[in-house]
């Protein structure tokens, strides 16, 4: 039984470290993990879930704004990018945030094609991150169900 827990904990640790190393997550994610405790074991999962909902909504809105080449509402797109950049930054979604930076640049120069590419990329990145984090949270659940505790993970 202990072995199972230790194994799962190891898996969790390595997986989370890999997410940082591959640039999916940055330090802000570890900041969020600090805010989680026994009383609020789902805090991170709930925050990122809200973030992903945000992504979905904003991407939809921006997509509509970019739809017709002759009538792009760049202000609206810019607003969406700003919001997305902010929330991705707040949860530590590094890749998503990085795409937003390029996205904003395309928006600033009213480059519709560029915006569309960035939109697709941001869609890809948030969905990728969502999958990765789901795997991470599943590991967490397995650890807890096996009677273990979630490891602290230092990024270094």
């Amino acid at each position: 039984m202990n072995n199972v827990v230790a194994q799962l904990q190891r898996q969790f640790h390595d997986y989370l470290v890999s997410l940082y190393q591959q640039g999916f997550l940055d330090n802000q994610f570890s900041e969020l993990r600090k805010l989680q405790d026994d009383g609020t074991p789902d805090f991170v999962a709930e925050v990122v879930s809200l973030f992903f909902e945000d992504c979905s909504k904003l991407i939809n809105t921006m997509s509509r704004s970019l739809e017709r080449p002759e009538n792009v509402d760049f202000k609206q797109v810019d607003s969406g990018v700003h919001q997305l950049k902010g929330s991705s930054s707040s949860v530590g979604a590094r890749r998503v945030k990085n795409v937003c930076i390029s996205f904003k640049e395309c928006c600033d120069v009213q480059n519709r094609e560029g915006c569309i590419r960035c939109l697709q990329q941001v869609d890809y990145e948030y969905k990728m991150l969502k999958t990765k984090l789901q795997d991470l949270f599943n590991l967490e659940q397995q650890i807890l169900q096996a009677g273990g505790t979630i490891p602290q993970v230092d990024i270094n």
Binding site: N27, F43, L50, S87, S90, G92, N156
Partner: protein, 261 residues
Amino acid sequence: MASDGGVFCLRRPEMINVGGIGGMESPPLDVDEVHVLAVDDSLVDRIVIERLLRITSCKVTAVDSGWRALEFLGIDNEKASAELDRLKVDLIITDYCMPGMTGYELLKKIKESSSFRQVPVVIMSSENVITRIDRCLEEGAEDFLLKPVKLADVKRLRNYLTSDVKLSNGNKRKLPEDSVSVNTSPPLTLSPDSSESSSPPLTLSSDSSDASSPPLSPVESLSSPLSFPLDDEDDDVSTESSPTPEESPVRRQKMRSPSLD
């Protein structure tokens, strides 16, 4: 508008006054507890700031706009409601960039209000724009936090508050807190309360050899990591401040000159 501990649905956009995402109910406001009004149009940011504040033992009311903040405070209408006595807002923390009313505009309205002008107001922003920061400080903001906000930032605010808390009616009170007061600390020096290896050193490389708390990714909130350009729209954006080892990038404090090290 209950401010005495009613449990609100977390998803309710305009106002949350909750005990945390776990759904715990907030007990009624207690005169000895610090009550913070948080203002941010982003739901994600509201959740995070609310949690950050609760974890540092503050009671929190989070609203999604400057207008709702004024409404909550009772500033936008002149009725001296009985609730005002119970509100006891000790700190207002607001995002800068919000649709409708910016954090700066909210700040001004608060400072124009006889009831609330003494309540410290802290501005948060994702953009490190010197002119913006200075403007807010000049208008009376107590502090300026760069987003994303971290636990160390909020702890610092907490320390600063508890040494000398002013109520809206002007009475000062001391709270039982043994942390260092940072009212007059110099810029870029945070109170040494946070021993967590949280704030990354200011390094652009992603594999710092600093053993204390090297981030895996470059500092995200200030200077531009090597892979992409700095996102700013203003000449006055600082790019990089001095690499204070354990501290986050620029935290500008009142009473100091705006120069960076």
